[in-house]
């Protein structure tokens, strides 16, 4: 009888952000679909009411089905049967429930059977599903692949494949190979065009999440004799061809319910998506950005689960005659956990808003010529989405790991045992800072926001000038000081004009910007709802100390010191 949406006020809070009106109006094209589809919203209030109701159903399914199944799914795991994946029984039940509720393909256009939900409620759904079972969210969340099909495939492909996703078929994105992990330019899987123009795929893919999904997006080398990213194209493989074998499922530390497959393609018929040679350069980038936002949501959902388990245990567990939550060592840990959770969730939905507006405007600009104002607005949000997505993925996944670590710590010895969910949560959390680009690679993407001054511009021109209540002014003063120090550090590092030196301090600079941004987001949350003032206060204290520490380190490790860190 649990409901993971209605028991979490933070989700509803972010659903009512002032920018939602603009987002919903864009997404619903001023509510013109209400005459074509009986489930389309009539106006803004009606749309938000629908989002709320959809999330309530997801919350119920997650509370009553997905979360109770998580333990058995973790123990049982998926298996390879005759070259295909057989999910754990609980996974199958979860999928059945979500299919019956029509919760697959939820962002897709209505004409393809989707719900046309905005990125915000979709991400909230991912946040909720992740809290229930971090492994299962991968299978469910791969419906994101359909967004890439929707964006780049032709009309016929959209009609054929998107309707299937909406009806509940699952997806996979087949990128990684044994020798092409972080460096996808090295992809070898061979795409051969036959005389009749059709394509077949041959080769091996590795570490493919839900690799036996019904519809797979496959990155393959279509251009003979090439060896870099420009020789790669994107293909759709349909499982009904039965030409891809699952050779094995990896044995993993966490997210065990999510089958990570090694795939063998043998003359597998496939369809080209979009234009040749744009596979990596354009389509994978779109796919990855969506996936990174998804991991951001997964990180926040798992953090939520970790925090709740820790809080409940700390209230319940008594030692030395009192509940352990009464000890400073424990309550401080919990308060920091909650502050990080609130901060990363705020960053998640801020990023979603940028992505949502930019993506929707991009789609509109394919249908009609945008006005110059619209074009500027789109560019503005695209730039923000590009730097906030890796910032979010990096920060939220690291927090997720920290929260899972602390949640076990609060449980003490019991947390180390399989008797409590934190043991699984801790294992599940570990992957978030690795896949879809490690934290280190997120820094490589996000550092542009530092060096171009884009983070600073957003901080100074948007966050710093927002109107706030007098009692929040002190927080802002602290953040203003932190911003000055950040600016000083950025200037110091970039003045050296050495790319290795910049790489060396890049993570620190990105995290300093992240701390300031999340601090401001929590102030703005507190402005809208006093409830968040506590988290804002705790987070900013923590962020201030963290940034000072980083500043000191940056000042003390100069270019000439890099040699010390190198081992042969």
């Amino acid at each position: 009888m649990a409901n993971f949406y209605t028991d979490n006020r933070d989700l509803k809070f972010h659903l009512t952000h002032p920018l939602m009106k603009r987002i919903v109006e864009l997404r619903e094209k001023n509510f013109t679909e209400k005459d074509r589809f009986d489930f389309a919203p009539l106006d803004y209030e009606d749309a938000i009411d629908s989002y709320d109701r959809v999330l309530e159903v997801i919350g119920e399914i997650c509370g009553d089905t997905v979360a109770p199944n998580a333990e058995s799914v973790d123990a049982e795991g998926p298996q390879v049967v005759d070259g295909h994946v057989a999910y754990a029984r609980g996974t199958q039940q979860n999928l059945d429930a979500l299919r019956k509720a029509n919760l697959m393909g939820i962002t897709l256009p209505r004409e393809y059977g989707g719900l046309n939900l905005s990125v915000i409620p979709y991400t909230m759904a991912a946040d909720i599903v992740s809290r229930a079972d971090a492994g299962f969210v991968n299978i469910w969340g791969l419906q994101d692949c359909a967004e890439t099909i929707n964006e780049f495939a032709d009309a016929d492909q959209k009609r054929r494949f998107l309707t299937r996703v909406s009806a509940g078929e699952t997806c996979a994105m087949d990128l990684t190979e044994p020798d092409a992990g972080s460096d996808l330019q090295a992809v070898q899987l061979k795409a051969t065009q036959k005389p009749d123009g059709s394509w077949v795929l041959n080769g091996v893919k590795r570490f493919i999440t839900n690799g036996d999904g019904n519809i797979s997006l496959v990155l393959a080398r279509s251009e003979d004799g090439t060896s870099d990213g420009r020789g790669l194209s994107m293909f759709i493989y349909d499982r009904t061809h039965n030409a891809v074998k699952v050779r094995r499922i990896e044995h993993k530390l966490g997210i065990i319910g999510s089958p990570t497959c090694e795939l063998v393609f043998k003359d597998a018929p496939a369809e080209l998506v979009g234009a040749r040679k744009l596979g990596l350069i354009k389509y994978v980038m779109a796919l990855m950005n969506g996936a990174r936002l998804g991991i951001g949501a997964q990180s926040v959902g798992v953090s939520e689960a970790a925090y709740r388990e820790a809080l409940a245990y700390a209230k319940d567990r008594r030692q030395f005659g009192k509940a352990i939550i009464q000890f400073p060592a424990v309550y401080e840990m919990l308060a920091n956990m909650k502050a990080k959770l609130d901060a990363s969730r705020s960053l998640l939905y801020e990023t979603c808003r940028f992505v949502d507006i930019y993506k929707t405007m991009d789609k509109i600009s394919q249908e009609r010529t945008p006005t110059p104002d619209e074009r500027n607005e789109m560019k503005y949000y695209q730039r923000l989405a590009d730097i906030f997505t890796p910032l979010l993925k990096g920060m939220a996944s690291e927090y997720c790991n920290q929260l899972a670590y602390d949640a076990i710590q609060i449980h003490g010895g019991s947390g180390f045992m399989k008797d409590y969910p934190v043991e699984r949560i801790y294992r599940d959390a570990r992957i978030t800072s690795i896949y879809e680009g490690t934290t280190q690679l997120q820094v490589v993407a996000a550092i542009r926001g530092v060096t171009t001054g884009a983070f600073l511009k957003q901080i100074r021109e948007v966050y710093e000038v927002a109107e706030i209540r007098p009692e929040l002014q002190n927080f802002r003063r602290t953040l203003q000081e932190m911003t000055a120090e950040y600016e000083e550090c950025v200037a110091g590092v970039t003045a050296v004009k050495n790319s290795e030196f910049l790489d060396f301090h890049a993570r620190r600079l990105v995290e300093m910007a992240g701390n300031i941004i999340m601090g401001y987001l929590l102030i703005w949350d507190s402005q809208r709802d006093e409830h968040y003032t506590k988290s804002a206060g705790i987070f900013i204290k923590h962020a201030e100390a963290d940034n000072r520490h980083k500043k000191h380190y940056i000042e003390s490790v100069g270019l000439e010191d890099l040699g010390f860190f190198k081992y042969e």
Partner: protein
């Protein structure tokens, strides 16, 4: 067999499964205000059974019939969100205070007013009264056969229905001629979740009283989209003798209510043998203390 007309009888009940301190009033009656109103659980099993028949026999329709106060329209909406085609709310002050006899009389009159049907499905019993009388009484009043404790419909063909019944010591497969009434056991499959598309489609569905009472922004919708109108029936809409309805039609009188506090009296002595422990485990599993 194609196209069955199915009516599901459903009741809105106080959620007695999570009872707190204030669940009962001083006088021993249920404090309905303190308990959330929910779809009676076994009526949800009944709805699922009906929806499965609809899945297998395209062209079938599932209508919900519920008797209760105005807010019982929630039950109809919950049914629409899960796949029911339409619903009837039987609501009138004249029905207040009905016991099972008056309830089944009112329901049977409403069913006659609705018209033809092939199958009536309802939960075995409601969690507030636990009588299990209303279903069988409705069947008697309509003069049709009944199958109780149903768990699964195995087959419907040539106007016959074959049903698996769950009994205390096993299962029984029986067959009966349509039209017929089935009461469904809690062991039948759970009801499917709400379908969000149907939910968005039907969320504005309302009875006439609801549209009159609410400050409604979407009034035009009820003309444009006829499916959003939930049929509301009162005494005037059914052909019923008023003396057989409500309190006057209810011979059941509550004489006294006692608060029973369980006190364990029995004790059992076990030895530390595997045999005794095994016996205890079997017993605890059998009476559902474990598992």
């Amino acid at each position: 067999m194609n196209g069955l007309k199915i009516i599901v009888l459903a009741k809105q009940v106080p959620d007695t499964r999570n009872v707190g301190k204030d669940a009962m009033k001083e006088d021993g009656t249920v404090n309905r205000a303190a308990l959330p109103a929910i779809f009676n659980p076994e009526d949800l099993n009944a709805l699922e059974l009906a929806l499965r028949i609809k899945d297998f026999h395209p062209g079938s329709t599932v209508a919900l019939l519920t008797m209760g106060p105005a807010r019982a329209a929630d039950i109809i909406r919950e049914g629409l969100f899960r796949g029911a085609d339409n619903g009837y709310l039987l609501s009138d002050r004249a029905f207040a205070g009905s016991d099972t006899l008056a309830t089944s009389y009112a329901l049977s009159c409403a069913i006659r007013a609705i018209g033809e049907f092939d199958l009536i499905v309802c939960g075995r019993q409601a969690i507030d009264g636990d009588t299990a009388q209303v279903g069988p009484q409705v069947a008697e009043k309509l003069g049709i056969p009944q199958i109780t404790y149903a768990e699964e419909v195995l087959k419907i063909e040539k106007s016959k229905i074959r049903v698996k019944r769950r009994l205390e010591r096993g299962v029984e497969v029986v067959e009966g001629p349509l039209p017929l009434l089935v009461t469904v056991n809690g062991s039948a499959p759970d009801c499917r979740p709400r379908n969000v598309k149907l939910m968005m489609k039907y969320k504005h569905a309302k009875t006439v009283s609801e549209t009159q009472n609410a400050a409604e922004d979407y009034m035009a919708l009820f003309n444009e989209r006829p499916y959003l109108n939930i049929t509301e029936m009162g005494v005037k809409d059914i052909d019923a003798k008023t003396e057989d309805l409500g309190l006057s039609g209810s011979p059941t009188k509550v004489k006294k209510i006692e608060n029973v506090v369980f006190q364990a009296k029995e004790s059992k002595r076990l030895t530390a043998s595997d045999f005794d422990i095994q016996g205890l485990m079997v017993e605890l599993i059998a009476n559902h203390t474990l598992g």
